[in-house]
């Protein structure tokens, strides 16, 4: 749990630079941020700590974003998911209904903060 009482966020992306940016940005606003480089690691984190919001990259080696979403729901996960998407609309169409919202890369700091503010529980 964060000191300031703001939510706990899990960011799942295979790209360290993105994870670091998101973590730094959200920590500066008082959120607690956990990082995972791929789906399996993310599921492990979810099993360990309560998470209020998941920021999820779609294309990752290993378990893809879509597969992670399925596994997350199967395990009864309730945390809302925001997709961090760099893919085309076609690929997004299948997954968007499962997500609370979509942040399209390259998203800016203001966009990130506003979406997290709205969705974090």
């Amino acid at each position: 749990m964060s000191v300031s009482g703001k939510g706990v966020i899990l960011v799942v992306d295979d790209e360290p630079a993105i994870r670091e940016f998101v973590a730094l940005a959200l920590q500066a606003e008082g959120y607690t941020v956990h990082q995972a480089a791929e789906g399996g690691e993310a599921l492990e984190t979810l099993a360990r700590v309560p998470v209020g919001l998941i920021l999820l990259d779609l294309r990752m080696p290993g378990m893809s974003g879509g597969e992670f979403l399925d596994a997350h729901r199967e395990r009864g996960g309730t945390a809302p998911v925001v997709l961090l998407a760099a893919v085309g609309q076609e690929e997004l169409d299948q997954l968007e209904p499962l997500a609370a919202e979509v942040l399209r890369k390259p998203f800016g700091l203001a966009e990130l903060l506003s979406v997290v503010e709205r969705r974090a529980t």
Partner: protein, 568 residues
């Protein structure tokens, strides 16, 4: 002139009633004077009895024949006539009409022995040959017209077949269905049986077989399933020679040569084949397949004209198949381009996102000293790294698009690959502190390569290994001489995150013909593969027992064999 005797008058009356032309001439010193000219003679030759009687027979003989006529008369006088004339059959010759034209006639001559004047009277019985000639001409005309009609019908049938074939061939760009409809068209129009075999990736495949009788078709299909087309049998020799073959008659020896087993031979015999043709499908100098046309119950025997038609048909079919292939390739290229652009966009958006994000973070917090110095430093490091990554991605992107549109010129130079591998490892270490990189190199290996691009290709493989092991781990890059002129370079990781099977599937997908970009491979790995291919090498993925994956590059050392081999 003498008064006609009673006999002469009687004779003249009888002859006047006859339909045959009868002319009697009296042999005289200077010639042969007409003494009898019946009405039929007037009808045939124009002269009335008054005009003809008393004139020389020469009157009705065409100029060209008069010399012969006179010689004949001389001979008659010398021999005294008699049996000479009668021994000869009817003569066929032209007679001269009063109006100057010639009339084809048959002439039978006989010597009439008048009282006391043996051999003096000669009778000619003349028959008009025009009706016979007319009939003959009519018959000939009829025959010609019939032949023409038949020929024109055949030409029409051919034209209809070719038009229908054209329609069938252009109806679809899917060559399987195109060739099936062609087979249905050829049998029964041109054959009882139609078989189409195509060469696909070096293999011969039966794409169509057709006979009107569904029962026969089903039975033969069963046989054909057991005996797939064999390019080494006589029938499909055409796939090697490219020469059409005509069998006006299918003999048992041919079936024996074709049969794969006694049972197969029996099946072939039971088809009751009569005649056959095998024509190649050739487009732009390549033999794409063959059409086999066979007759059985129709009893039809093929000739050269049928072969020409079959070749015409095959030519059109080959063109259609070739068009379908070009279309498929074009579509494949468009799909590959779209996949490429999508992969490129994805890969480019990632560094742009972090660049933009860190820049905004610095703007927002950096100046207000809200970020501690560690975070500030880290942010600037990321901006620096990501700019570098972006620049590299852009040059890879350019390389790949140049590789796609045309040959990319390699700037080759003599390079020590062992040193290059070491440098790649150094660069990779600087990019990740999660991974442990080791180098396995035993000896210097000189190669004639584009040093800059090859370094980028190997770095791409190491980064791919890192990417598939996001939590870190050991990665080995190694080099060994495989043959005097070939070297093997590998990048090995013991990744557990992404299963080797999955990575193999990803790699296989990325290496599909048509150069489809496996998007999951990322731009880097694809660029690596293309650079290796450009050097005449190949790249493959090996699944390592106990987990892990080894990306292997086999590279020819290049240059002149002497230079590459002396180890300088």
């Amino acid at each position: 002139m003498d008064e006609p005797s009673q006999l002469e008058r009687l004779l003249a009356r009888v002859l006047g009633a006859l339909r045959e032309v009868v002319v009697v001439g009296r042999l005289e010193t200077g010639g042969c004077r007409i003494v009898l000219w019946n009405e039929a003679a007037e009808r045939l030759l124009g002269y009335s009895a008054d005009e003809a009687l008393g004139r020389d027979v020469e009157l009705i003989i065409p100029t060209a024949l008069r010399e012969g006529y006179r010689q004949g008369l001389d001979r008659l006088r010398r021999t005294g006539g008699g049996k000479v004339l009668e021994s000869r059959g009817p003569l066929e010759l032209p007679a001269l009409h009063q109006e100057g034209h010639e009339v084809p006639v048959s002439l039978t001559l006989s010597v009439l022995e008048g009282p006391g004047e043996p051999g003096q009277l000669i009778m000619g019985v003349i028959r008009d040959l025009r009706p016979r000639e007319l009939a003959e001409r009519r018959r000939l005309e009829l025959e010609t017209a019939d032949a023409r009609r038949q020929a024109s019908e055949a030409a029409n049938r051919r034209l209809r077949l070719l038009v229908a074939a054209g329609a069938a061939l252009s109806a679809s760009l899917d060559y399987q269905s195109t060739l099936e409809s062609l087979a249905r068209l050829a049998a029964p129009e041109l054959a009882d049986w139609c078989l189409i075999d195509m060469v696909e990736e070096g293999q011969v495949r039966r794409v169509a077989i057709y006979h009107q009788d569904a029962e026969k078709l089903a039975r033969i299909r069963q046989v054909r399933d057991r005996y797939p087309p064999d390019p080494n049998r006589p029938r499909l020799q055409v796939l090697q020679t490219g020469q059409a073959v005509l069998h006006p008659e299918i003999r048992d020896e041919l079936l024996q040569a074709e049969a794969r087993s006694p049972e197969h031979l029996e099946e072939l015999r039971s088809m009751g084949l009569v005649s056959g043709m095998v024509v190649p499908l050739v487009a732009r100098g390549r033999i794409l397949g063959a059409i086999t046309l066979l007759t059985s119950e129709s009893g039809r025997r093929y000739d050269e004209a049928d072969l020409a038609l079959a070749q015409e048909l095959a030519g059109r079919a080959a063109l259609a198949v070739d068009n379908a292939r070009l279309y498929r390739e074009a579509r494949e290229a468009i799909r590959a381009r779209d996949a490429f652009l999508s992969a490129a966009a994805h890969d480019l958006k990632t560094p742009i996102t972090s660049l933009r994000g860190f820049a905004e973070l610095l703007l927002r917090h950096g100046t207000a000293e809200e970020l501690d110095s560690g975070s500030l430093r880290r942010a600037l490091q990321v901006v620096d790294q990501q700019s570098d990554k972006l620049a590299r991605l852009v040059s890879e992107l350019l390389d790949i698009s140049r590789l796609q549109t045309g040959p990319l010129a390699l700037r080759r130079e003599w390079t020590d690959l062992a040193r290059l591998v070491g440098e790649v490892a150094d660069t990779a270490r600087s990019r990740s502190d999660r991974h442990e990189l080791s180098v396995r190199v035993t000896e210097p290996v000189r190669a004639w390569v584009d040093r800059v691009r090859l370094e980028r290709a190997l770095l791409g493989l190491v980064e791919s290994a890192m990417k598939h092991n996001p939590e870190g781990g050991a990665i080995e890059i190694g080099l060994e001489r495989q043959a005097p002129d070939e070297v093997r370079i590998w990048v090995l990781d013991y990744g557990q995150t992404v299963s080797p099977e999955r990575r193999e599937a990803i790699f296989r997908e990325a290496s599909q013909p048509g150069d489809r970009l496996g998007t999951a491979m990322g731009l880097s790995a694809e660029a690596s593969r293309r650079i290796v291919l450009l050097h005449g090498g190949e790249m493959e993925l090996e699944v390592v027992q106990g987990g892990g994956v080894r990306m292997v590059v086999r590279l020819p050392l290049g240059g002149e064999p002497a230079e590459a081999g002396d180890g300088r």
